[in-house]
């Protein structure tokens, strides 16, 4: 999917973001705006998908960048790409809002999500690691469809075990064992890919 030119663009964007993160950690507040401009569309998409409400998602997004500004020194460029780290950070923040009861649980169906803006900043360039993306895809395809969908739904929609069980109309214990078996298989597959 990526030719060498877009690889170069991706690397350049990633590197710029990494440098901005490092500057922010060094106390340069101006770096935050650069980070915001290049990542807001992706991170807002994640918050909106989890929270299912524009206002809540905007509040979550604000929290994400304020938190980032306060704790930029937590980011370790040796351990994760900046966009992976930020995407995880945003998703955790959105999930946390759901779990603290500030908002109803729920999600927007994909087709209802806001359209991409014309000026999508670096949208293509700021993809998370393509190689890992391919590997998790291979491993999740190894699960039966039902389990796969529940695990993906937990990730994308922020559902808890209880919510997934209610939606599938099965006992909680059944949903737990489906997902746990799936996670177990997933772990074996991912670990095998790391070993090879």
């Amino acid at each position: 999917m990526a030719d060498s030119r877009s690889d170069l663009a991706a690397n350049a964007a990633r590197e710029r973001l990494k440098q901005a993160m490092i500057r922010l950690a060094d106390g340069d507040s101006a770096a935050l705006e650069e980070i915001y401009q290049s990542t807001r569309v992706k991170l807002f998409g994640i918050c909106l998908r989890i929270l299912g409400d524009t206002k809540e998602a905007e509040d979550a997004l604000q929290d994400v960048y304020i938190n980032l500004w306060q704790k930029a020194d937590r980011y370790d460029p040796e351990r994760a790409s900046p966009i992976s780290w930020l995407a995880t950070f945003a998703r955790n923040r959105a999930i946390d809002r759901l779990r603290t009861g500030k908002v109803r649980g729920g999600a927007v169906p994909v087709e209802e999500a806001l359209p991409l803006p014309d000026n999508t900043p670096l949208a293509d360039a700021l993809m998370v690691d393509a190689e890992r993306s391919a590997q998790i895809h291979i491993c999740i395809q190894g699960l039966d469809e039902r389990t796969r969908e529940h695990i993906r739904s937990a990730f994308f929609d922020g559902f808890t075990y209880a919510e997934l069980a209610a939606r599938a109309d099965v006992p909680l214990g059944t949903m737990k064992s489906w997902i746990r078996r799936g996670l177990q298989k997933l772990r074996v597959c991912l670990e095998a890919s790391e070993a090879s």
Binding site: D129, R132, I136, A154, F156, S177
Partner: protein, 259 residues
């Protein structure tokens, strides 16, 4: 709970499974708090959660991007500027008077009096940092320095007793008042801060019944302080949570609010 038995029952699942559940966002309530506590105390567990996070995160590329309104950046930059200004402004004595008014309003609203809150005022008035004419904090001081104290009450069950917890940003001091509480001689209670970003719980120390304790907090903890931040109290063996073990059950919780 279903009667179905599987190798993956709640009590039988291993840490790697719990870390996966946390990473996916499946956990809630006490299980979630317990897992966050474990992230604080068990580096292997934290690494396992990060391992799962890093495997799941490529999925976020499938989420459609969306454009937030311009108001979001306006609010972020206003908040940052306000923090920068207030950290410079709180060296002014006039702030103490303003604080008095707000503190009264808060006390009135909450319809209670708090020994800890009274101490805050004393500290604010006599703190050497409040001299007029002091200059703005050095660049290496914490970026976040909202001037206003944070107050939380942690009610203990239905006993009518509570912990009064006050945090004074300027001095990075935490006051924990456990007036009226008595020790049972078998347990201690440990207070934890629940970081809003979902990261591991941070210990604020063991509560001493019948006393108001003051301690200075590390930067790692003060970075997580803020309006709306949750505190939980866990029951532990005497001396607090043993190294390498999970935190005990959550017996009470409260939320910081700014006065």
């Amino acid at each position: 709970m279903s009667s179905e038995k599987t190798p993956f029952d709640d009590g039988e699942r291993d840490d790697a499974m719990k870390a996966a559940e946390h990473a996916l966002g499946l956990l809630e309530g006490e299980e979630l708090l317990a897992s966050r506590g474990k992230l604080a105390s068990d580096p292997d567990y934290a690494a396992r959660k990060e391992w799962w996070d890093n495997w799941f995160v490529p999925w976020s590329d499938e989420v459609a991007g969306a454009q937030p309104s311009d108001a979001v950046w306006a609010r972020i930059s206003a908040q940052i500027n306000a923090s920068n200004v207030s950290s410079a402004a709180n060296v002014d004595n006039s702030n103490v008077i303003d604080l008095t008014a707000r503190l009264k309003r808060w006390q009135w609203t909450a319809a209670i009096t708090s020994a800890a809150a009274a101490i805050v005022l004393a500290v604010m008035v006599f703190s050497p940092g409040t001299e007029p004419g002091s200059i703005a904090p050095a660049p290496d001081s914490p970026v976040f320095a909202a001037a206003d104290p944070l107050v939380a009450q942690v009610p203990i069950g239905n006993t009518g007793l509570r912990l009064d917890v006050t945090y004074i940003p300027e001095s990075e001091k935490l006051l924990v008042g456990a007036i009226g509480l008595t020790a049972d001689g078998v347990h201690d209670h440990e207070l934890w801060l629940v970081p809003e970003d979902g990261s591991a719980l941070q210990s604020l120390g063991v509560v001493v019944p019948g006393e108001v304790l003051s301690q200075e907090l590390s930067r790692e903890i003060t970075a997580n302080m803020g309006d709306g931040v949750t505190l939980v109290l866990t029951r532990e063996p005497i001396g607090g949570k043993p190294e390498g073990q999970d935190a005990g059950p959550v017996v009470a919780q409260g939320t910081f609010s700014q006065v």
